[in-house]
């Protein structure tokens, strides 16, 4: 029996670097991508010469976040599948259901699994039952200040309030003093509602000084589940990841092997299909460091490229093939994780001015050489591109590899030196400072404390 045929046409329900990444996979598979775009992205270079459909005005709620417009756009252009990318509606189970109801294949896990993992409290429960360790916290969402206070008194300060339907660091508030509790709850609820359409929040003990480590998994409809190793995303600012690397320089081999195996088992147990990430915190507060499950992202992530480079697996083409009903093209034995890989996120933000977002026109844009196969550049911008104020500030990802961490770091520093972005401020100098610092090389940092560095005044 021949494998199920792929989609003829696929709607790219995203923008920027994400849209470019999905289209690359479509091109490789011979699937025609159709770009859904907003008026603010009308002149984006990646749309030139492509089949496309305008969704609405620049504001996301009337374009990239409007489920009905997206599904109708897929229908209008005869797309039998839709790729949500990451961000926007990628973790919205109701959107996945809407796609299926109208005969459009949603590239992602089944809606019920998405819903289970998207609501954070049931996800924690499912993962605990699958054998993973979790972070102590409220049993489900908290609905009142009084209940929150009771949880706080039980598990102790400091606390982290998190949006039940959240992710990506949005809708999270730290509480160190019980007097701050009701204000923090209100703030987290507001952000949860603004970003995820759900004001419910839950509480966890804030584990400070840990490392953020996540495991990439890929599953098909036939129960085959593989992992592509872990990523260390400890270098963050305000819960926004800046640098990701694999393997983690902080994880001992025993805890790695144990958790990778459990992650695969848990993924299979919940009936997961597609690309997913299990996020953990490496809790160093006890005698031996322990990975504690935080949440599962039921989508591709920004930093998926790190695992792609290290494993040689194209996660987006696998996603599309799996959604079409094909089995995984590889098994765990086929996966060889080689060398060390580092990714830097280049954001249009000014690190010298409190990371102020810097929308505006890029006068000149030059990306580093990639000829030696050790640098990958994922971007959607070009010279003359104007970054709209409506969306995320990520404009480029640089991914460097080498046989060792030192070699990958050195190669990344060369690439950063070659990157030119005139007309806007970016996080480029921040990355140069971090990667050059003694703390980075000696591995002295955690999620709350960037490696110590000095930003040269520019």
């Amino acid at each position: 029996m021949s494998p199920p045929s792929l989609f003829h046409r696929l709607l790219v329900a995203n923008r920027g670097e994400v849209a470019v990444r999905i289209a690359r996979a479509c091109d490789a598979l011979g699937v025609e991508p159709v770009f859904a775009y907003s008026e603010a992205d009308r002149d984006a270079p990646y749309l030139a010469g492509r089949r496309r459909v305008c969704l609405g005005p620049g504001r996301a709620s009337e374009s990239y976040l409007d489920p009905r417009r997206l599904v109708q756009a897929a229908k209008n252009t005869d797309c039998s599948a839709l790729h949500p990318g990451w961000g926007f509606l990628s973790e919205n189970a109701a959107f996945a259901s809407l796609c299926e109801a109208h005969g459009v294949t949603f590239i992602g896990p089944p809606a019920h699994v998405m819903h289970l993992m998207g609501t954070k409290s049931p996800a924690k429960r499912a993962m605990r039952e699958a054998g993973l360790r979790v972070i102590p916290g409220s049993d489900g969402p908290v609905t009142s200040d009084e209940q929150a206070r009771a949880v706080a008194e039980e598990i102790g300060l400091p606390l982290l309030i998190k949006a039940e339907s959240g992710g990506g660091g949005r809708g999270m508030k730290i509480v160190r003093d019980l007097d701050q509790l009701s204000q923090a709850l209100a703030d987290a609820r507001r952000e949860g509602l603004a970003f995820f359409g759900d004001p419910s929040v839950y509480i966890e003990r804030l584990l400070e000084g840990g490392r953020h480590i996540e495991i990439q998994v890929m599953a098909d409809r036939y129960g085959n589940v593989c992992h592509l190793g872990e990523r260390d995303c400890t270098i963050q600012r305000n819960h926004q990841k800046l640098i990701e690397e694999s393997p983690s320089p902080a994880l001992d081999p025993e805890e790695r092997e144990r958790t990778l195996a459990l992650a695969v088992q848990a993924t299979r147990q919940i009936g997961y299909v597609g690309a997913g990430t299990l996020e953990f915190l490496l809790d160093t507060s006890g005698d031996a460091p322990v990975l504690r499950f935080m949440e599962m992202n039921t989508r591709l992530q920004v930093e998926h490229s790190v695992s792609e480079v290290r494993s040689g697996v194209d996660l987006v083409t696998e996603q599309i093939a799996v959604a079409a009903g094909r089995p995984l093209s590889f098994s765990q034995q086929d996966v060889t994780l080689s060398g060390h890989v580092i990714e830097c996120r280049i954001n249009a933000e000014d690190p010298a001015d409190g990371f102020r977002p810097c929308p505006g026109r890029i006068e000149r844009w030059v990306t580093p050489r990639t000829g030696d196969g050790r640098i990958r550049v994922d971007t959607h911008v070009t010279s003359g591109y104007t970054i709209p104020p409506h969306y995320d500030s990520l404009i480029c990802k640089l991914i460097a590899s080498g046989p060792t961490r030192e070699a990958a770091t050195q190669r990344m520093l060369e690439a950063l030196a070659e990157l030119e972005a005139e007309g806007i401020r970016t996080t480029q100098p921040l990355h140069q400072a971090i990667l050059s610092s003694e703390d980075f090389r000696a591995n002295r940092y955690d999620t709350t404390r960037l490696p110590t560095f000095t930003l040269s005044a520019s």
Partner: protein, 199 residues
């Protein structure tokens, strides 16, 4: 299933062309049915057919103040569904002389503003007058505020920024004469946020 849900009316988007004709555009991604034939006179709020979004039909109408006669050649099969995208041109209307829509518009700039100072947006973004939907506004017209007072939230690239009143030329205390953008408006860097007078 023959019964169909009917949703609220949608108004077409309008742009005025140099030759005086009007272009009516689709307000969303949809299937457009029942397009009026050339020669049809469209009055304001008049029917332009229906928009179908995921099986739900909405009457499509001309916005208030827009009327004219549909120009162009008659198309066969105009009653069939046509897939349209947001902003796609649906019809052109030639103005009807007799109806003579008023062309006058409000002057572009606020006339004879009495403001002593204008506080402008430090960055482009979306303007919010209150910290949360159920909370009071940061400032109200007529209020006295001091430098450093939070005036609004600007949402820039998914980040909410509290914007404090600042400006070298401002006295320590001022009175708010007018809040310029409406809540939820998109503003550009340098757009006026507040018109201010002496306290």
């Amino acid at each position: 299933m023959s019964s169909r849900l009917h949703a609220e009316r949608r108004q077409a988007l309008v742009s005025r062309l140099d030759d005086g004709e009007l272009e009516l555009r689709s307000p969303t991604v949809a299937l457009w049915r029942g397009a009026p034939q050339p020669g049809t006179v469209i009055t304001q709020q008049g029917s332009l057919g229906e928009l179908e979004v995921l099986g739900v039909l909405s009457p499509l109408v001309a916005p208030a103040g827009v009327s004219g006669v549909v120009t162009g050649e008659a198309r066969r099969g105009a009653a069939a569904k046509r897939p349209v995208e947001y902003g796609e041109v649906l019809l052109r209307l030639a103005p009807l002389g007799a109806l003579g829509n008023a062309e006058e518009r409000a002057p572009g700039e606020a006339s004879a503003s009495t403001a002593s100072w204008v506080f402008r947006a430090p960055t482009s973004g979306r303007f919010y007058v209150r910290p949360a939907p159920d909370q009071p506004a940061f400032v109200t017209e007529g209020a006295h505020i001091e430098r450093g007072h939070t005036t609004c939230l600007l949402e820039v690239m998914k980040t909410f920024n509290r914007i404090q009143l600042s400006g070298d030329e401002l006295p320590q205390k001022v009175r708010v004469l007018r809040i310029v953008p409406a809540d939820g408006d998109d503003v550009e860097q340098g757009d006026p946020l507040l018109e201010l007078g002496p306290a």
